[in-house]
């Protein structure tokens, strides 16, 4: 039988609700599944952060309803310290894995990577479905730990042994809660590895004719490099999780040293393992992970700034190389999380230098974003506002990384709210801004309707101000020596900081409330939004090519041909043939000549 393109289509055709929307192999459906999984996780994680913030600001306050929800963790609504740590662990794990890794990469990437490079589908649709359901199962395993004896894990998203390696003797949540955490993360690793495999193969093999790598949209580049980071780093985390689980369940001694006495009990049977070994393995994954979270948002920001400034990306090639450089260097700097860990101080200094080197491609990107805006004709849609907000927040969060990259300064600031401010701005909020701008930008393509722009703008300005009000003051807390991951602040020297904590909590409640506008807008527009046209933003990339244009796309130019002199419109689609005979177009025509 001769394979033809028409055969590809029946796979997508509906075969009952279950096959069409639940166990679907359609990349768009899977992308949306990921997106809504991330949205759900984000709402849960945000709720947890509210509880934590309220408890920090008013530690003696009984939170209404919490006592009924979790009688053990919060008797009469008063949060116990172990419950606070459970919330902290769940907040971090949900946000980092199930929101920041899932939404921008697996969600938007699945929806739009094939579309942007001119492919009909991902390379392995069934594997794609498996990836999603592994992620889904992983989320289920994690959330189920709320009902486990002792509650969810309490060792933070970094799960340092021996705290996480000895079972419930080290504290509540370290029994079943921690086991479920490890199982969940291991499943997530497998799901992400399969997803990354799919993304890379799709990008390499399924690009449309004429879509050279250097013509790919920067979003596609970001997804591609992120997928490579995932492929290599999640393999290491999976290995680390296997070792940790063996230490817990089988009595091995990879991370557990000999001669421990916990709660007066001698821990038998363990030999000279090293907790630092876990830290190295974890951060070898953990640092690339922060780029996994931020690279897609960076790519999207470049994409949107160009589209809505109606101007080509300033220094496209530099942007691509910066993305690659960040991806590569991301694997060499994990040690900067360990300056005070007891690691060799000489290697600390080497990590320090490598870490500031990685700031250079980030700086290049920031320069080029500003360069893209300079002299542009801005269309301030909500998507654009969030992209602009991204640049501002990324700068505010990113520059503080320089402090933390210098070992002696890090000694003072390590594990304080300075670090909390740094990563919440540069990776948490910035990536969230990426998710928001992606949602406002691609919503018409995903659901065929427009989101409400007025609500969107209100949402933006509240989120922008809220993000600054919540996280900028944390720099000052950190400088004053306020340690992070504290369930309460009992130390006398922290008491003068309580007003600032209360301010942050109020701002956080406001910031969270503003997100309800987004949720309302999202679901409202889903059903009642204005019908969207084929290319509402007048963008150039292939996802906006009309479905009627046919499937056999040919790409003639780069992704950001805005304001090209001498053209009728101020943008030229990537697949628009042109007879003007420029070098790029000639090449494409040659390729097409067969």
């Amino acid at each position: 039988m001769t394979p033809t393109h028409s055969q590809a289509i029946p796979r997508k055709a509906a075969r009952g609700f279950l096959r069409k929307y639940v166990f679907s192999t359609d990349h768009q459906i899977i992308g949306k599944q990921y997106y809504f999984l991330a949205l759900f996780s984000a709402l849960v994680a945000m709720l947890l952060s509210w509880l934590m913030r309220v408890h920090l600001a008013w530690p003696r306050l009984a939170i209404p309803g919490l006592g009924e929800l979790s009688a053990a963790g919060a008797p009469n609504g008063m949060m116990t310290p172990e419950y606070y740590l459970s919330l902290l662990t769940m907040h971090g794990t949900l946000m980092i894995f199930f929101v920041l890794t899932t939404a921008p990469q697996s969600g938007f990437g699945n929806c739009f990577l094939p579309a942007q490079i001119g492919a009909d589908e991902m390379a392995f649709p069934r594997l794609n479905m498996l990836s999603f359901w592994l992620t889904f199962t992983s989320l289920g395993a994690l959330l189920s730990s709320f009902w486990a004896r002792g509650g969810p894990a309490t060792s933070g998203w970094t799960a340092y042994p021996p705290l996480s390696g000895l079972g419930s003797i080290t504290g509540p949540g370290e029994g079943w809660g921690q086991s479920l955490w490890i199982i969940s993360i291991a499943l997530f690793c497998v799901g992400s590895l399969l997803g990354a495999l799919n993304f890379i193969t799709t990008t390499l093999d399924l690009r449309a004719r004429g879509m050279t790598l250097m013509r790919m949209p920067l979003t596609a580049w970001a997804w591609f490099v992120t997928a490579i980071l995932m492929l290599l780093s999640f393999a290491v985390l999976l290995a680390a999780c296997v070792l940790l689980m063996l230490d817990r369940a089988a009595g091995t001694s990879f991370f557990i040293p000999a001669g421990l006495i916990v709660s007066g009990q001698m821990i038998q049977g363990h030999q000279g393992g090293s907790p630092l070994l876990w830290e190295h393995l974890f951060w070898f994954f953990g640092h690339p992970e922060v780029y996994i979270a931020i690279l897609p948002a960076m790519g999207l920001t470049s994409h949107l700034l160009s589209c809505f400034a109606r101007k080509p990306v300033f220094g496209y090639r530099a942007m691509v190389w910066a993305t690659i450089a960040i991806g590569f260097l991301g694997f060499l700097v994990w040690g900067h999380h360990m300056f005070v860990s007891g690691m060799n101080p000489y290697s600390a200094f080497a990590f320090s230098v490598l870490t500031v080197v990685i700031a250079v491609p980030s700086a290049v990107k920031t320069f080029n974003w500003l360069g893209t805006l300079w002299g542009g004709r801005l269309r301030l849609t909500t998507a654009m506002l969030f992209a602009l907000g991204f640049v501002s927040i990324f700068v505010s969060g990113g520059l503080s990384g320089i402090f933390l990259a210098e070992p002696p300064v890090d000694v003072q600031l390590h594990a304080t709210y300075f670090v909390v401010a740094h990563f919440h701005l540069v990776m948490g909020m910035a990536a969230m801004f990426g998710i928001f701008s992606g949602t406002y930008f691609w919503f018409p393509k995903m659901f065929g309707r427009m989101m409400n722009e007025t609500l969107g703008k209100i949402h933006f300005i509240l989120t922008f101000i809220g993000a600054y009000c919540v996280f900028m003051p944390m720099y000052f807390l950190g400088m004053a020596g306020n340690v992070r991951r504290y369930a309460q602040f009992v130390d006398p020297y922290l008491q003068p900081l309580m007003p600032l904590h209360r301010f942050i909590t109020v701002a956080a409640l406001g910031l969270g409330a503003a997100q309800m506008i987004f949720v309302f807008n999202l679901f409202g527009s889903l059903f009642g939004g204005e019908k969207a046209g084929e290319n509402p933003w007048e963008a150039t990339t292939l996802e906006w090519v009309a479905a009627s244009a046919g499937k056999d796309l040919v790409v003639y130019r780069g992704a950001y041909e805005y304001a090209v002199p001498g053209k009728e419109k101020d943008y030229v689609m990537q697949n628009a043939p042109d007879a003007s005979g420029s070098r790029a177009e000639k090449g494409a025509r040659d390729g097409n000549a067969n």
Binding site: P81, G264, F349, T366, G371, G375, L380, V395, P407, A480
Partner: protein
């Protein structure tokens, strides 16, 4: 919206600059010899990043507020020479900053404690610190895991009946140190990873079970401070702390003698 956003950015930048400039919230005062280096390094970095911060935010605000209102945007795909120049400049600045912190770091970690340093063992557990002074003989008696018992106050597992070196060891819950004398701490943990952090000393070091990690410093100002744990160690993490007492040398001697009497 353009005006609202650019105004918000300018205002936010101004507020941030003022808060840093006026030092509304700042480091606690430094009380150690190497702390000045840390503070200087922080100041230098703050200056450089502050300039970059203000420049980036203001340019962003300008672009938003002063974008073209009519016609087409400028067609500009980049300027390689400018990009390379800026990348090199950024690299030089950042690497320069990292290298400038070398001396302070070396002083803290590359060289050991001076010979005349007072050596004190620190044992961390969930959720307390214990301190041991070697006593007049200058020798720490051996530790026996089996004898460790918090309920009877044998935090270090000492056996004074069998080990003569243990007899004069002084175990306390407060870290008392003399002013202007080098101190070497030997950090040990009994269960999970803890940390030793005194913001005023500009010192932070994880305490890892299975390892003995030495740190050294010299305190320059008397007073009562707090040692706090910064590494998530379990439910009592937030309350894990110990008093630090920096005293004049004679007062320290008196204090230590009083502790010895209570053993």
């Amino acid at each position: 919206m353009a005006r609202v956003l650019s105004f918000t950015i300018v205002l936010g930048t101004a507020v941030t600059v003022i808060l840093f400039w006026r030092r509304v919230w700042w480091f606690p005062p430094n009380i150690s010899t190497q702390g000045a280096g840390v503070d200087r390094e922080f100041g230098l970095t703050l200056l450089v990043t502050g300039i970059l911060f203000v420049a980036a935010q203001l340019i962003l605000a300008y672009c938003i507020g002063r974008g073209r209102k009519s016609g087409r945007a400028a067609y500009n795909t980049g300027n390689l020479r400018m990009e390379v120049a800026r990348a090199v400049l950024a690299a030089a600045t950042f690497i320069g900053l990292a290298l400038s912190s070398y001396r302070t770091w070396a002083r803290m970690y590359f060289i050991g404690a001076p010979r005349n340093a007072l050596r004190i063992q620190v044992e961390a557990e969930q959720f307390a610190y214990w301190f041991r002074y070697p006593g007049p003989d200058g020798v720490f008696g051996p530790m026996h895991l089996r004898l460790v018992n918090d309920a009877t106050g044998n935090y270090f597992g000492l056996d004074p009946t069998r080990d003569p070196a243990s007899r004069d060891d002084i175990v306390t819950a407060t870290l008392g140190i003399p002013e202007n004398r080098p101190i070497e701490l030997l950090l040990m943990s009994r269960d999970v990873i803890h940390s030793f952090y005194v913001p005023q000393l500009r010192i932070q070091q994880d305490i890892v079970p299975g390892m003995v990690i030495p740190i050294h410093f010299t305190a320059t100002r008397t007073g009562d401070y707090e040692i706090v744990c910064t590494q998530l160690c379990g439910l009592g993490h937030y309350a894990m702390r110990a008093p630090l007492k920096v005293m004049k040398e004679p007062n320290f001697k008196k204090w230590l003698a009083k502790q010895a009497a209570e053993q």
